[in-house]
Amino acid sequence: MIGITAYGAYLPRYRLSGKMINEAWGRPGGRGEKAVGYFDEDTLTMGLAAVHRCLPGDSIEKAGGLYFASTTSPFKEKLASAEMAMILNLSSEVRTLDIGHSLRSGTSALLAAIETVKAGSRDSVLVVASDCGRLEVPGGLNEGAWGDGAAAVAVGRENVLLNLLDHYCYSDELAHFWRRAEDRYVKSEDVRFPQVMGYARIMEASIGNILKQTQYEPADFAKVVVDAPDMRSHQAVVRKFGFDPKTQVQDPLLGVIGSLGAAHPLVMLVGALHGVKPGDKVLLASYGDGSDVLIFEATDALPEFQKEEDGFCGLLDRKELISSYTKYLAFKKTFEVEYQDYYSSVSALFRERDRFSRLLGGKCGNCGYITTLALRVCPNCRKKDQFENVRLAREGVVFTFTQEWYYPSPEPPTTLAVVDLEGGGRVYCQMTDCSDPGMVKSGMPVEMTVRKYHEALDLPHYYWKCKPVYT
């Protein structure tokens, strides 16, 4: 049996509301919200966060492949999946692949992963779908439509939760949304044409064809997860096949988190799996120059995983509104800010990646002291070259802190905290996802997360920050 063995979704903490957008542009009303990555988040950091919500630390390292799907990779040239694999401390023999350019790249990556395992090339592959910063031009009509988020799905042969029964891929080029290589903002032309001749026609064909091929009836599915560019189009497809919106259909959450681009089908899938029982069938369909449709069956292993997972609903609830529309524009770098010529060195980045990219501690073989710095001599017993890499806990407690009002940031003050990690190791780093400086106290519990610090050398620099534990 080959299928999904673990899953997790990640949404950033912050939301921008339609009302805030309309107020900024002097328009009345405004509905809904969308998830907005914080200023230090990007497609890669969200993807990593999703992986950590999918698998415990010691299981991540066993993955034989990492397939990364996105339309907003930090790089045009450089393998984001390889950088993620390095940060996640995967083996050098890992299969890495970036799949981009399409809103259905998430499901395409999932199919590629399943086929990789099926072919016997690898026993397990992590699929990460993430989009952050897929933007409408400020003031444009779709500005509230597209949010940021990520999902991660592990594929393998053992302990399968969702067995892939069938799939169907349909390719049909159509100018619905696009960005040329040099474009910052998503473009579209007609509204009705792509809804009618694009989405509706393509989804009817792809879902219709797989039903015909497999002889399933629409009522055979416990959950129907269909990505859609807008709610009206979604409802039309649901009606066309007669899926029951109350019992079968997973809400696309477009007015709640926005459309998350390449991540959306898999984020919706994670949301839908909450109530799925062994034996249930799940239909997953993505859209973008065609469609991928996948049919899964839940196994007896699913309930055990559901017990452990941190609920999707909690993820939706743990949110706060961004403080202003101007902050949103700043987070998304839609205007020029003073350039900081940060020091960095590509050789130092390479040399020190165990400590600073992978957050591996060094434990002294002589005295047991744990360092989080790139040292050779133990500061405690002063023996040389006794440090062995150890995985550090991602949970910790603030020992002391400060808040910097003059460090360049779109959201001052920048909180810096000395954090004692559970089980040993102390780090000193920025605190993120904390727009209320008053909540920071010594003794507060925090968790570690990878964020982008700056772009010295025009290269994104990812390192650990702590963030409050929100419940």
Binding site: P379, E404, D420
Partner: protein, 396 residues
């Protein structure tokens, strides 16, 4: 420790430029002024100096001046002798002074110069020290921090552990600004109301703007000889009672080392313990007549009261509340106005403190003179806390 420094070295000349935004003086101009003041007092010329140490902490503020001993030779006319540049963050000045003492003690040198200079204001403040902290350091470590933040984590911890309040730090700044009014070389010579200090904008919580020293240019210098030769140069000489330099950690390590408590500065504690032993001081608060201590940010001075044994651990707030470190108190601290008023041209500050103590011990400190001063202490902490330089001077 095989060699005791006590009473073996004498300061026979001291000089100091005004500490200010010296737009009219370059790095070399300032050194010439400070060194020649010291030469004049000692009755020597540059040709009499047979060894020199130059303290400059950061060289990128001014056309890389201060990189080497050459940058003292050229402006001051010191040639054909060994000159060494010393850099040890805020303790650089004290470190240069120490090396000069050791040069004399070893017998290698007979008449030596210790000079410190820092030119920070050829650039806007945010492009000098702040830039170094924000952009020039390691790509990840301590990223997000300014110099204030490095000390602020100590201040936060001190508040949480001992109940110190932000107002106590402001009292330190208030006192030092009050003292600074009487110091003709200080950058700021204005008393600042407590309310203004308390309400000044936050720089790095809990350190606000008026609890932070400004960005400043300055230079200071002293001429030293062995004690037995002192009278031949200047009958108003001052003796070195002790000099300690302690490096107890690194630049990043204190923040990442689980053994650090952040409620005190271990390097200062150790330096004080050793320096007091060397100088024979058993009861510092009663024996020491005045002290210049590092107040780059006001909380540092308050914490250092405890580390220097002026009061018990955690009692720094009482020491300032009770006015014991004011001009009228039993141990006046920072009669110069401290770094808060004088500013902090990093490489010069340590030597400037030694200049200040020297003037008091000579009875030549003018309006700010501490009466009958016989024993004075100069303290710097740097890097941000791993280095302490401690010098104790006494009247003969």
């Amino acid at each position: 420790m095989s060699v005791d420094i006590k009473d073996k070295i004498a300061i026979v000349g001291a000089g100091c430029t005004r500490f200010a935004e010296n737009f009219d003086m370059g790095y070399g101009d300032m050194l010439a002024e400070a060194c020649f003041q010291a030469f004049d007092e000692a009755g020597v010329g540059p040709e009499d100096i047979d060894g020199a140490w130059l303290s400059t902490a950061f060289v990128d503020g001014s056309a890389m001046k201060g990189r080497s001993g050459m940058d003292l030779a050229e402006p001051v006319g010191l040639f054909d002798i060994p000159i060494t540049r010393v850099s040890n963050f805020c303790a650089s000045g004290g470190n240069a002074f120490r090396e000069a003492c050791l040069g004399l003690l070893s017998g290698v040198n007979d008449v030596v110069l210790a000079a410190g200079a820092e030119k920070q204001r050829d650039r806007p403040p945010q492009k000098s020290l702040v830039k170094m902290m924000v952009v020039a350091q390691h790509q990840f470590l301590q990223k997000g921090e300014t110099a204030a933040g490095q000390f602020a984590v100590y201040a936060t911890r001190h508040m949480e552990k001992y109940g110190t309040k932000l107002e106590h730090f402001c009292m330190v700044s208030h006192k030092n600004h009050k003292h600074g009014v009487k110091n003709p070389i200080a950058q700021y010579r204005q008393e600042i109301p407590m309310e203004t200090i308390v309400n000044s904008p936050m720089v790095a919580y809990p350190i606000n703007l008026l609890c932070s020293c400004p960005t400043t240019d300055g230079a200071a210098a002293v001429v030293l000889v062995r004690a037995e030769d002192a009278k031949n140069f200047n009958k108003d000489y001052v003796l070195v009672k002790a000099q300690e330099l302690i490096v107890n950690s690194g630049w990043d390590l204190p923040f990442f080392d689980p053994r650090y408590d952040f409620s005190h500065f271990p390097s200062t504690r150790l330096a004080a313990q050793r320096a007091y032993a060397m100088a024979g001081i058993k009861d510092p608060v009663n024996e020491i007549d005045l002290a210049e201590v590092h107040d780059c940010f006001a909380p540092v001075e308050l914490i250092v009261y405890e580390d220097l044994g002026f009061c018990k651990e955690g009692a720094g707030r009482h020491f300032i509340e009770e006015g014991r470190s004011t001009a009228e108190g039993d141990l006046p601290v920072n009669m110069s106005g401290g770094l808060e008023s004088c500013g902090h041209p990093v490489g010069a500050s340590g030597v400037r403190m030694i200049y200040e103590i020297t003037r008091h011990l000579q009875g030549k400190a003018g309006e700010r003179q501490v009466k009958n001063a016989k024993l004075g202490l100069a303290h710097n902490i740097g890097g941000p806390c791993a280095i302490t330089s401690l010098t104790i001077l006494g009247a003969p």
